[in-house]
């Protein structure tokens, strides 16, 4: 993540990275506080030193294989899935495993 941020920061010749906007799927077992702590540790002395991580949690979205209807589902309910439209249980995951850098705030 830091490599991606620094690569773009250098390319745009920024002075400082103030914030990093991330998109992370809710299925990822990540904790905001720890990601920030590891990021702080790794980014020390770089252009991104002190940058704040802003996380947008992407919902787990499933698509029914029977009727193509797509719907959000909470992680706790993932093991009892049923399509709200046609009640089929055969669904595939469209999002929820996301892990990307969306944008950075720089000065």
């Amino acid at each position: 993540m830091l490599n991606i941020v620094l690569e773009h920061a250098q390319k745009h010749q920024v002075q400082k990275v103030l914030a990093v906007h991330l998109e992370i799927g809710k299925l990822k077992d990540f904790d905001e506080e720890w990601i920030q702590q590891y990021f702080d540790y790794l980014s020390r002395g770089t252009l991104a030193d002190g940058a704040k991580l802003k996380i947008e949690w992407i919902p787990v979205v499933l698509q029914c294989q029977a009727c193509s209807h797509s719907f959000d589902v909470e992680i706790e309910r993932l093991t009892e899935i049923q399509c709200p439209r046609c009640a089929a249980t055969n669904c595939s995951m469209i999002s929820g495993r996301d892990y990307r850098v969306k944008q950075i705030e720089v000065s």
Partner: protein, 223 residues
């Protein structure tokens, strides 16, 4: 006041790993070597299942095993004693394998002369699910003593595998493991998954497991 700008990036953080994994699959296709990624908690029976698989398939396929157990040579010795080529990757305490480490393991084991390579991932149900190793198929072992609630706690792992082997099935009568509820939970997370009940101790289910793998390898090497 300093001007704050926004720079759009939209870049996948694991893109580097995914690119290496894709190259690995292309190479395996060229060399006609089937790579199986085996994941589980510590103690669920990865090494035992590998040894049983070797017993079932060593006369049909040229096999190798890549071991990634943390700082231990015990597992690769056990495997090597079966007369199969084994390579140990030292992860230096890391909790998972990534595609680059696997690539080095494949170089070391010389995949050109092998039909099947089994990758014994680090014992962990979290991180190995995050990293594509480049394997052709992903399999996880869940042993009965771990409990039927594991799909609720580690949904990502159950959603990325092609087969779940329920090991230590001989123990089920002495446990409160609800096999039906477990099956429903797993299928709900991953409707395409195959579940095989097995016991490396009594060998129940081992022929069925070996048959699945045999068909997959044949399909892959002929395709």
């Amino acid at each position: 006041m300093e001007e704050i700008r926004l720079i759009e990036i939209k870049e996948e953080i694991l893109a580097d790993n995914d690119a290496v994994a894709k190259r690995t699959r292309e190479r395996l296709k060229r060399e006609r070597t089937f790579l199986l990624n085996l994941m589980s908690s510590p103690g669920a029976g990865k090494t035992s299942l590998i040894i049983e698989t070797i017993r079932e398939l060593k006369d049909e396929f040229r096999m190798g095993v890549i071991e990634a157990d943390i700082e231990s040579m015990v597992d690769s010795r056990k495997v090597a004693s079966q007369g199969v080529r084994a390579v140990q990757i030292r992860t230096g305490g890391l909790c998972h394998l990534d595609a680059s480490m696997v690539q080095k393991g494949l170089d070391a084991i010389e995949t050109g002369a092998l039909d099947l390579v089994i990758l014994e991932n680090v014992g962990n149900l979290v991180c190995p699910a995050e990293f594509d190793t480049g394997a052709i198929k992903n399999v996880m072992i869940l042993s009965v003593p771990e409990g039927d609630d594991k799909p609720l706690k580690y949904p990502l792992m159950f959603s990325v595998c092609d087969v779940v082997v329920v090991n230590k099935i001989d123990y089920i009568d002495r446990s409160d493991f609800d096999r039906q509820a477990f099956g429903e939970r797993v299928l709900s997370l991953n409707s395409g998954v195959k579940i095989i009940d097995a016991s490396c101790k009594t060998r129940e289910g081992i022929p069925a497991w070996a048959e699945w793998l045999r068909q997959e390898i044949r399909q892959f090497t002929n395709g």
